[in-house]
Amino acid sequence: MLDDFLMRALLAGLGLALVTGPAGCFVVWRRMAYFGETIAHSALLGVALAILSDLHLAVGVFATASVVVVVLFLLERRDTLPTDTLLGLLAHGGLALGLVTLSFFPNMRLDLQALLFGDILAVSRVDLALIWGGGGVALGLLAWLWRPLLAATVSEDLANVAGLRPERARLLFGLLVAAVIAVAIKIVGVLLIVALLVIPAATVRRFASSPEEMVTAAAVAGMASVAGGLFASATWDTPSGPSIVVTALALFVVTRLRRPGRAAKAG
């Protein structure tokens, strides 16, 4: 079954959506969409480093993304510059640094198209193991962080007073997003990854009456988008990554057409 590239693509996408849905809810609640973009932009530097040191792409991206997360964490504590300015600095600084680094190696073969928009149909068994293994770890971490992170999302002060160490939760969640993006770049690419985080969460918000419901529903909406997008891609021969995002967007639009109901329905 795993020999079929479409089956591998589907399994990879479903595994990814299972994590991006819940993580994306926190991205939406905590207004971290631009944070996600920053991590994605800095990925180019990670890709360059991965190719140079002959590592798996995701490992290189995760390494540089982690550095960006930690630098941002430290700057936010010390610096007086607003967060979006710091993010702009890191996003485009990382991107430019990656491009300059690549220019030193003119013989390096880099599929820029795949990097920007993903290549889910080229997912290997190793990638699949990475997605489901890493995804399991990410979901476990999210479950462990759930209470402190949710409390810190409502109020860092209340979380602090309750001894939940919101700063640690914030840093760990940043690293989690870095890991998710590192794995996801292969699937949907640098330019579209934030869509997988934000759109499912935004779609299901109005149907959820508790954070737990919203996280579950976002995972389901994300998986539906992956399945629908891959089906569309196979049927009409459209690029798979963008097709997944378009499907997610269509799901968002369709659910918007209906007036919001009072009762909460998950899924």
Binding site: R147, V154, L158, N160, V161, S209, P211
Partner: protein, 226 residues
Amino acid sequence: MSDAPSVDPAPLVEVRDIGVRRGARWIIRHVDLRVLRGQLVYIIGGNGAGKSTCARAVLGLIDIDEGAIERAPSLAVGYVPQRLAVTPTLPLTLRRLVTLTGRFPAGEVDAALATVGLERLGDPPVTTLSGGEFQRLLLARELLRRPDLLVLDEPDQGVDVAGAEVLHEQIDTIRRDLDCGVLVVSHDLKLAMDTGDDFCVLVPHEHDERPGIGRDPELVGTARDD
């Protein structure tokens, strides 16, 4: 200090000559304050006097630049902030907010909600609550957490006169039920003198010239009843 008991127990928190600085400017300076178990203590001052800063320093949420704060060993603190805006993208109901930082039996939650008069509301989204209801909800949350020291930052802000009266009665009930110390930030000197065991007055923008802090009401030039 007239209400200080004859046998002086160890204070829950003792603040000695603390100062907090932002750049060259002192937000608060030379503040002394102590809260004993069962006491209701007020931090009084006008706008910009550094009341919230002082409360946050007592809670350990910000670092102090001088002086010392001594807390009783394993002191559990509770906090009701002045303002708390729950992001509308987060679906959070009344009862879910109560259990945000810890789980409690449903019966206890019901009792706490009843104490603050929210038992008949059901379980609506917190974004639909009024300012007063939200403050009482945060109070119910602290009631369940059973802190030794409860810090309330202008709990009656945005609440009408009748509502404020009820709120202060509820705070007093909680103080007696839990036998905890309560530290209330307020600009209402009269309330503090009528109901408080002790109070600390902060005077804005004078921290560099002189120690503008004391328990002497004569020092108060800017605290107003509004």
